[in-house]
């Protein structure tokens, strides 16, 4: 089982959620899964762009109330 890290970025505005993802990614190894929750309206679009640029895989993008939860597998 790959390592899973949960990040609660609710209440944070751009660029903070992306920075938190990058920081967690720097500490983690390839294949790690990040579960990131954010209620920032820019998050859905931003997390897609982050994954595309860093070659990570966006495994899932689910709605959880006012937030969006992204599951990212690190490259």
């Amino acid at each position: 089982m790959p390592e899973r890290i949960e990040l609660n970025c609710r209440g944070m505005k751009c660029p903070r959620p992306i920075i938190e993802i990058a920081k967690a990614a720097r500490r983690s190894s390839s294949g790690t899964e990040l579960l990131v929750a954010s209620d920032d309206l820019a998050f859905e679009s931003d997390v897609k762009a982050w994954c595309e640029t860093t070659k990570a895989t966006l495994v899932a993008l689910e709605r959880d109330g006012a937030a969006v939860v992204a599951t990212i597998r690190l490259a």
């Binding site: 505005k13 660029p15 992306i18 920075i19 990058a22 982050w50």
Partner: protein, 188 residues
């Protein structure tokens, strides 16, 4: 036209492949982003630092080149000194902000009232403070370059600047060298 032994031809071919490889590497877009921070306005600095932090988070190598009014963003609070400066430089020093937080809004500053309202609104909306953003950009590993001509003009000394010792004090050629290699260059 084939001359020389097989070995000589192989050697020539290898040399050619190596030079083509180098040429290709030079032409391949880098993951570098260079920002020219020119404006000392609070909102413009904020925009620049937001883009810089985002680029760092996206795995880019980020270079920030501070010139003219933006050099005040690198000044430390309460470290200003007048020793060996011209009168006009000391006057500038006392009037220019120390660090990004002290900068003015480019619009609706209203003697600081507008900025105060803006900061309050941003805090309420969960938007990062400019000092925190600057700290983040440093921690994420941005490269800071200071325009030597500007800092000389304002008479700024190493001890008056944030991370003054490790700052790359350089000129336009250094910046252009970085900019030409960058995928993205922004003037803010």
């Amino acid at each position: 036209m084939e001359t020389g032994t097989l070995e000589q031809r192989l050697q020539a071919l290898e040399g050619e492949v190596a030079s083509l490889r180098k040429e290709l590497a030079d032409k391949t877009p880098s993951n570098m982003v260079s920002l020219i921070c020119f404006s000392g306005d609070w909102d413009r600095l904020f925009a620049g630092l937001t883009i810089a932090s985002g680029a760092l988070a996206m795995g880019q190598e980020v270079h920030l080149f501070f010139t003219f009014w933006a050099v005040s963003a690198l000044r430390l609070k309460g470290k200003s000194c007048s020793d060996g400066k011209e009168l006009s430089q000391s006057m500038l020093g006392s009037m220019l902000p120390e660090g990004p937080a002290g900068a003015r809004l480019s619009k609706m500053h209203f003697m600081g009232l507008g900025k105060m309202m803006m900061r309050r609104l941003m805090k309420k909306n969960g938007i990062e403070d400019i000092d925190a953003l600057m700290k983040e950009v440093r921690e994420l590993g941005a490269h800071f370059h200071l325009c030597e001509t500007s800092s000389g003009l304002f008479g700024l000394k190493v001890e008056e600047l944030e991370d003054g010792d490790s700052l790359d004090r350089c000129g336009v050629a250094t910046f252009l060298g970085l900019a030409l290699k960058s995928r993205l260059v922004l003037f803010i």
